[in-house]
């Protein structure tokens, strides 16, 4: 449902000509360019439901995160794990989400608002500068594919 809505929203934006989504270069296994035409966010919208089938986010983070814990998702992307973390820790606990890509952070904020998670604090930053998080304040850090 979310995917469809996002895609429609993107189509509308295209149609109205407000802005064109950025294109994502996709390489196949031999390194050749397969397509320059798929907008990055549409590509991810298609990929996420497939990923959800094989690696549900709760399966990875569920065993390590308890209700009430402060968590940080470094390299959060569009929030594939962040939303699951926000659900696990509860509405009154902070979830830090950090990504270097501004578009990812914007998409995450949009998704979090839509899903009603107001405990997510998203930052457009490198993991090498987490100055907005105080010392010894986080119970669990997810750095999945960050390095």
């Amino acid at each position: 449902m979310l995917v469809g809505a996002e895609m429609n929203a993107e189509k509308n934006m295209d149609f109205k000509g407000k802005h064109k989504p950025k294109k994502r270069l996709i390489l196949n296994s031999s390194g050749k360019l397969m397509s320059k035409l798929i907008p990055w966010n549409v590509g991810l919208s298609i990929a996420e439901p497939i990923a959800r089938l094989f690696e549900p986010p709760q399966k990875l983070v569920g065993p390590y995160v308890k209700r009430g814990q402060v968590v940080a998702d470094l390299g959060c992307g569009r929030g594939y794990y962040t939303l699951a973390l926000a659900k696990l820790v509860g509405a009154d606990v902070k979830v830090y989400a950090v990504d270097l890509n501004k578009n990812n952070v914007r998409a995450l904020q949009k998704r979090a608002d839509k899903a009603g998670y107001h405990n997510i604090e998203a930052h457009n930053s490198s993991a090498s500068d987490l100055s907005f998080i105080t010392d010894k304040s986080v119970d669990f850090i997810l750095a999945n594919g960050l390095l």
Binding site: L60, V61, Y64, A72, L74, S126, A127, S128, D129, L130, I133, T134, D135, K136, S137, V138, D139, F140, I141, L142, A143, N144, G145, L146, L147
Partner: protein, 67 residues
Amino acid sequence: MATDRQLSVKEMKRILKPDGQIYMSLGAGPPFGYVDQSEWENILEEFTIRRGGSYQQKWALLSLKQV
């Protein structure tokens, strides 16, 4: 260890509670990723390994070393 990754690890250690945990994984090894086996091992040396940790697995559950 590349400077940016070194700083990232330092920041993780700074913000983590003494009894906190880190789930760390690599996207891919060289040439598609950046972290080779020796760098992975150097990173892990900074922590106590709770689970995983081999370069083949490319993930580890870590906690801070108790002083």
